[in-house]
Amino acid sequence: MTPSFETVIGLEVHVQLATATKLFCSCPTDYIGSEPNTLVCPVCLGLPGTLPSLNGRSVELGVKTALALGCSISRTSRFHRKNYFYPDLPKAFQISQYDLPVATGGSMPVFVGGEKKFIGITRLHLEEDAGKLVHGTADGRLSGRSFSNVDYNRAGIPLAEIVSEPDMRSPEEAREYVLTLRRLVRYLGVSDGDMESGSLRVDANISQKCSDGRWGGRVEIKNVNSVRAMERALDFEITRQRGIMLSGGTVVQETRHWDDSAGVTRSSRGKEEAHDYRYFPEPDLPPLIVNDALVRAMGESLPELPWVKRERFETEWGLSPEDAAVLSERLDLAEFLESTVASGAGRDIAANWIKTEILRILNETGLDAGDLPFTPRVLGELLGEVVKGSLSNTAARDVLEVMYRKGLGIQDAMKETGVVPGGVTGDLLAKAVRRVLDANREETGLVLSGADPSGKKRKYLQGLVMREIRGQAPVGDVSAVIDEALRQMRGLDE
């Protein structure tokens, strides 16, 4: 019988904390897009004689994240030095936390295939980021590099490293874990959680448990720069590790680097033996004491957590699981929805409009919902008009568009759009039809003379009328008024 396998995955996620200054010096943190080596000082350049001084805000953000993950906060924790030589590491050691991290033992729910599963959180600790290396050659090619350039702008940016328990059983679960964690840090405002720019980085540990009792060695995959890359790397490793075990081999415990263009992981063995980080307590920093006041303040600053909101949208509001997921993805969007509903709008229509129209506007503009030129209450009013039937969906969409593009209120936007409350009927509709027919004499003539056997020209005219009145009348009504107008025109001709 062929043995079966179980995949065991644990993730280490580094999150750049959204502080204004670095972890151990007062240099600004907005390094993206800055000229190289401009956001540096003697401390983050590791100049002789400099000493670290801990950023209190980074401790707060770390504690806030840890509380959201249900961790217990260590009232006393410690910094250690992790020693290794690399040109992007200015002191040749990284100040990190080791056996006494700021938080331990939490968990986070993830939803996979409609099921909720709790993934254990081993620890959260604070550490400093390294600088950046740009590789190149004298002739500008990237391969066969002959030198590297070093930029220390990123050196010292605060990171929270969040280590999970090996609780995930598939790449999908790993993906959901990362997405959930990203959503969380964005909700909390502790990080922008952007993987592409490196504010959220993932190292994945993966091993196989065989039904015959054998365990494969644990492989750490580095250099996965997107959720997609992580899933591909994990898939690749599953196949590779199972293949080895099926043919009777042993999977060695090692670090492997993901090569995204080749779609393979490669061993970075060889330098493993040389690794000995010689951790020891950082003598330049006394123990970090997190007092009750800080823990309380951070606890009180927590918003409703994304997974709680999502479940509430589903169970209390009766939204579909998909809508609940979309609408709880972003805190600004979810809060916009809740305020809209609080102002009196119906849950379903508000949810519907916000997941489509508002989300589209936000995606197009990159705006935060709080930055929209109209408030949730105003959106509520607009939706009220729709519910009353005084505005069609299409007309309301047009009005909304003008509201955000020109920053107008509902009334002004309706004027600007030419939208009429209650729709276009009677005289207004007849006049609109006459305007269209008069402006399109050729087509009208063809229709009148019976030279439109397929009815194409007539349809075309009807479309123009619908556009003229911005869809504010049922098609049947429009068609009837056109017929009436044509009849009158024929009568006049005769």
Binding site: P42, L45, G46, L47, P48, G49, T50, L51, P52, S53, L54, R81, N83, F85, P87, P90, K91, A92, F93, S148, V150, D276, R278, Y279, F280, P283, D284, L285, P286
Partner: protein, 489 residues
């Protein structure tokens, strides 16, 4: 009185009152340096032009009626491991390659703000690792009391500068005795404050949990004056205490030693100790007793037995990490190589001297996996026990009186090939660093041979003031150290 014989407070008051100009005082100091440096090699860098500019600035302040500060126009020397903006800071090492820091050490800022004028950066054992100032890539310094002998180390250049009358005050750093041992060898006073009393910002680290900056002086009053200037708290050093500081000058001028219980450590008097230094302890004890102190015998058995191995594990461990940043990427010397690892390796192999390499390797070893628990962790625990032992001793005494060094200054070259015997010369000083205590070497006279003797005073943490109080009483009996002329005995 010649300027070089004046103490710092007399200079400052003469300059402030306009009796003498800072430029005159600093020029006299520079003349003294020029005449003796060829024999002493106490300074790595003499700062002439900038010093005269600073002196003129102080004179300007005086003439415009501003208060130039408590060290107005006082020429000073700082050890060359303290960063001076725009003035090379070498740590006595090739690897820094005339690096000019873009910032000033906290003590340099404080000295300059107090009106002091830095005239030189003193010679030292490379990265403060050594007890003789022979491990300097700028050549050995000499003891101004006998130039065939070492001035002690690692702050040998600072101690020699004060003994030779270059300046009344110099700053050194003390990790295992590097202020108190050279003070003893050169015959001046030297104080190592409580760990956390003086900011380490801008002090190139040797062993961060042990390093502390302190002054050398030829009078207890000057030591106290310097301490009052350099001891304010500093947020840039997270280990610098936020406690209130004592007034050292008040302690020096109003010593309240009556009723103090002085501890004598049997273990330290029964071991190897030069008879003249043992005599100094006895004489100092009788001076203190006649001032109303009582003598109490205390035991420091663990410090005496385990201090040395404990120190020579912890200090190199921290040093191996602190000195890892010297890789030739951002500053200092670099030996070019085609690939990165060889460049790091060649830069460091050529840039560091032998003693530094010995300590880096020792430190790396005691931290490496498989040995950490047996050596580094055990040493941390032993250190804790040494702290607790001192705590116990200080329940029955207020100040401990013990030797600063086991021997009189040795001859140049005498211990150069025997690193471990060299390490032994710190046996009385390094337990004090391990426990973070304040300690002070107090001059007790010159032997008929011309070599100086001394005692060491040790107080509980934050009781540094007691040291200057007791030292004042001892100084009253033995006198201030005379200026040495830099001859040979």
């Amino acid at each position: 009185m010649k300027h070089e014989q004046m103490d710092a407070s007399s200079i400052a008051s003469a300059v402030t009152s306009g009796e003498v100009s800072a430029v005159e005082v600093v020029s006299a100091s520079l003349r003294r340096i020029r005449s003796l440096e060829p024999r002493l090699n106490a300074l790595i860098t003499v700062i002439e032009e900038y010093a005269l500019e600073r002196a003129a600035h102080v004179d300007g302040q005086v003439s415009s009626g501003c208060d130039p500060g408590p060290l107005a126009g006082v020429p000073v020397v700082v050890k060359d491991n303290m960063c001076t903006r725009g003035v090379r800071t070498t740590c006595g090492s090739r690897i820094l390659d005339d690096w000019e820091p873009p910032y000033d050490a906290a003590v340099v800022e404080l000295f300059e703000r107090a009106g002091a004028v830095i005239v030189g950066k003193s010679n030292m054992d490379e990265f403060a690792m050594g007890s003789s100032t022979e491990h300097s890539c700028f050549g050995p310094a000499s003891n101004p009391r006998d130039i065939s002998r070492v001035p002690g180390g690692s702050s040998g250049g600072s101690a020699a500068s004060v003994a030779a009358g270059y300046v009344p005050i110099a700053l050194g750093s003390d990790t295992g005795g590097s202020i108190r041992q050279p003070a003893a060898f050169c015959g001046v006073h030297g104080l190592k404050p409580t760990y956390g009393m003086v900011s380490r910002w801008g002090l190139v680290a040797f062993a961060s949990s042990l390093d502390q900056i302190g002054p050398f002086g030829r009078s207890v009053g000057d030591i106290a004056l310097a301490m009052d200037v350099i001891s304010p708290q500093d947020f840039r050093d997270s280990t610098c205490s936020r406690r209130e500081r004592p007034s050292f000058r008040d302690g020096a001028s109003n010593p309240a030693v009556k009723g103090m219980r002085i501890g004598i450590v049997r273990e330290f008097l029964d071991g190897p100790l030069d008879p003249s230094l043992k005599r100094s302890i006895e004489e100092a004890a009788s001076v203190l007793v006649s001032s109303g102190c009582t003598m109490v015998e205390v035991s420091l058995n663990e410090s005496a037995s385990f201090g040395l191995p404990c120190y020579y594990i912890i200090a190199p461990a921290e040093a191996s990490s602190n000195l890892a940043r010297f890789d030739g990427v951002r500053y200092g010397f670099r030996e070019e190589a085609p690939d990165l690892v060889s460049q790091f390796t060649r830069t460091r192999s050529y840039g560091f001297g032998e003693e530094v390499k010995r300590r880096i390797l020792t430190g790396t070893f005691v931290l490496s996996s498989g040995y950490y628990d047996a050596y580094y962790l055990t040493a941390l625990k032993a250190r804790k026990m040494i702290c607790q032992e001192f705590d116990r001793a200080f329940r029955s005494v207020d100040v401990i009186l013990m030797p600063a060094v086991p021997s009189l200054p040795f001859r140049k070259g005498e211990l150069l090939d025997d690193p471990i015997s060299m390490y032994m010369s710190d046996v009385f000083t390094l337990p004090v660093n391990l426990a973070g205590l304040p300690g002070m070497t107090v001059f007790t006279g010159l032997e008929p041979s011309g070599l100086p003797t001394s005692v060491q005073l040790v107080a509980p943490r934050w009781q540094d003031r007691r040291l200057v109080e007791c030292a004042s009483v001892i100084e009253e009996r033995f006198g201030c150290p005379p200026i040495a002329e830099g001859g040979a005995l």
